[in-house]
Amino acid sequence: MSEVREPQETFARSEANTADILRERRILSEPLTADEARRKMSAMSRRNFLIGGAAAVFGVLGWKWMSEETKTALLRRALEFNERVAQTFYKPSRLAPEFVRDAITTPRVNGDAGMQGDFDPESWRLSVGGLSGRSDDLTLTIDEIKALPRTDMIVEFKCIEGWSMIAHFAGVRFSDFAAKYEPEGRPRYVSMATPNNGYYVGWDVESIMHPQTLLCYEMNGMPLTVAHGAPLRLASPTKYGIKQIKRIGRIEFTDHRPRDYWAENGYDWYAGL
């Protein structure tokens, strides 16, 4: 057994020792005979390697044997816990930084879920459900939406994939929209879907009422293109792009947590920034 340390090393004695400067102390047992010391070390080794080995095996097998359903449920609960933490610290007064026009970057198109097939922007109408004093949907034209106060912002759009772009969005603050078309009661959520229901998102009311959440009809000084969600999309630095639904067909105020396309595909429902 090689339990003997190497012989004293040559130290440069003239140099200061950090350990002395910081008054580090050693903790040493009483001197022991070689046999005694070896016996004590062996006992300690056995015990600690057993405990450590058991902990490692327990940890690895525990994770391996956990069923996929349990693991998924656990991770989903972690996301929901994170959502509660984020909501606890959320302040609507905090704004995303706005940029100058020169900072605008080349826009990128990513994803066309819910936007397949023929679509005629001319015949498009927005349906709004959950409004105060009516049980059926209200139908609005794009001109009725454009008649509401206009807001411009140049903000950084962030994709959950990790890339980002800076763009100029113009439209109607959702909060202005909701002031004009008041919801019934005090709904906790807003649900939105494309006209063909192929893409749908859910928003918590705090984020949708954020002053930088827009029902957007103009991007980088031009009317929205079809690829970017004409005639009306959501634009908001409060959440990732997956939540900024393009080609909105229906908006509904609701107390039930709405379905969400990407949340059903393993992503965070909240996706708040």
Partner: protein, 228 residues
Amino acid sequence: MLSKQLERKHSLTIRWLHWVNFPLLAMMIWSGMLIYWANPVYSVWIGTYQVLKFFPQWFNEGLGIPFRLAEGLQLHFFFMWLFLVNGLIYVVYTIVSGEWRAILPVPGSLKRALRVALHDARILKAKPPQGKYNDAQRLAYSSVILIGAASVLTGLAIYKPLQLSWLTSLFGGYQWARWLHFWLTIGFVGFFSIHVFQVLLAGWSNFRSMITGTELVEAEAAQTEVKA
């Protein structure tokens, strides 16, 4: 003959924190790679020559990384709590227990750390004096705590760039925070590689001390502070 002593090297707390941190850091890096795959934009260039791309296709495919972004995010945002709590306990414990004395560098440490490196490279015969750790180790162990803290902060800057926009701005904006977060991870990997290499060089008795807490040493009557 009473020629041996048992030296208490690592407290039980430190040993648990150390070994628990290993799978936690591994999970953070692994899930980070699943996330990074979705926007893999970093590489190392010398002039116009790309030396290293993070990551080559064979690497991603060999490890089964592609198309697991959602899973990566789930894991990252679960294990981040455990990693954070383990790291916080470590820092608080190190301060309160006084064990910071063994790992903190002082102004002269850089010079002595260089001498340690020269000694290890067999260029210098004399080795600077040291306590439990030499000054190169002090620098390494202190740096890795800072890498951890900076990883948490840049991570927060990416995670909540609106609610914590002041923090994101501090790192130069969203994409710079992401860039820093990536390179801090490379820093962790670098630390880990050197650490494992050095542990292999140091040998069994040193390795075992991180499990048992104790190392067998030659009795040194002169400088002994008997405690146990």
